[in-house]
Amino acid sequence: MKLLYFAWLRQRIGHTAEEIAVPPEIKTVRELIVWLKARGPGYAAALDDLSVVRAAVNQDYVPLDHPVRNADEVAFFPPVTGG
């Protein structure tokens, strides 16, 4: 799975992209978040408050119960502030 992080999530996690083989029992974005938070304090800090975490799967915004597979590109970031 290709994982991407942006803005302050990226800063807390410490890098912007990584390739990780995610266990097959991880079926949704929410399960992926729980699994990532166990990888270290940076992940735990970045993904602590889900009210300010947004997710995209294959470059489309998705809700946290959206399915994920190892072939996906999954991104986490705060609410957008462009324009």
Partner: protein
């Protein structure tokens, strides 16, 4: 048409190109967003210096195309352009340009307002702003969500 780029753009040239030779156009609306100095976007008293716009290459273009498609589905447009910059931008610099052209002025004006509202809440960009207390990430504003929400109901007759 959408473009995501680091470099500045020439507003007059972009508008001229968009309408060139199409005599069906009766109105061209545009909006330019610029880096504002003074009170920060979060309403804090601290002064803004430069901002740095981070984006999600690939997804940004994809979402901008989707936003353009939504505007073209809602209004009859002869042309539509979105240019959004990323990287470090000083106060007074241009961030974003939206231009819409239509045979009817209301379609141009409304779709331009729609696009800038949607960009604020649907385009994957994040602003880091320099303040007197250091750099901090701009937080999304409830007023931007409300501005987007007013387009959720079908628009009135566009013209």
């Amino acid at each position: 048409m959408i473009r995501v780029q680091r470099k500045d753009f020439d507003v007059g040239a972009e508008i001229a190109k968009l309408g060139a030779g199409n005599h069906a156009i009766g109105g061209i609306a545009s909006f330019i967003g610029t880096v504002r100095e003074g009170a920060s976007h979060d309403g804090a008293a601290s002064h803004i210096g430069a901002i740095t716009l981070e984006h999600y290459p690939g997804m940004t273009e994809r979402q901008l195309k989707a936003i353009e498609g939504e505007a073209r589905a809602r209004w009859t447009l002869d042309a539509c352009l979105i240019i959004h910059r990323y990287g470090r931008l000083e106060p007074g610099e241009r961030i974003v340009l939206v231009v819409t052209a239509s045979s009817h002025r209301q379609a141009a004006l409304e779709s331009c307002a729609f696009l800038i509202d949607w960009l604020k809440t649907k385009a994957p960009f994040w602003k880091l702003e320099d303040t007197a207390e250091g750099a901090h990430w701009v937080e999304a504003r409830a007023s931007d969500d409300q501005a987007t929400a007013r387009w959720q109901t079908p628009p009135k007759a566009a013209e």
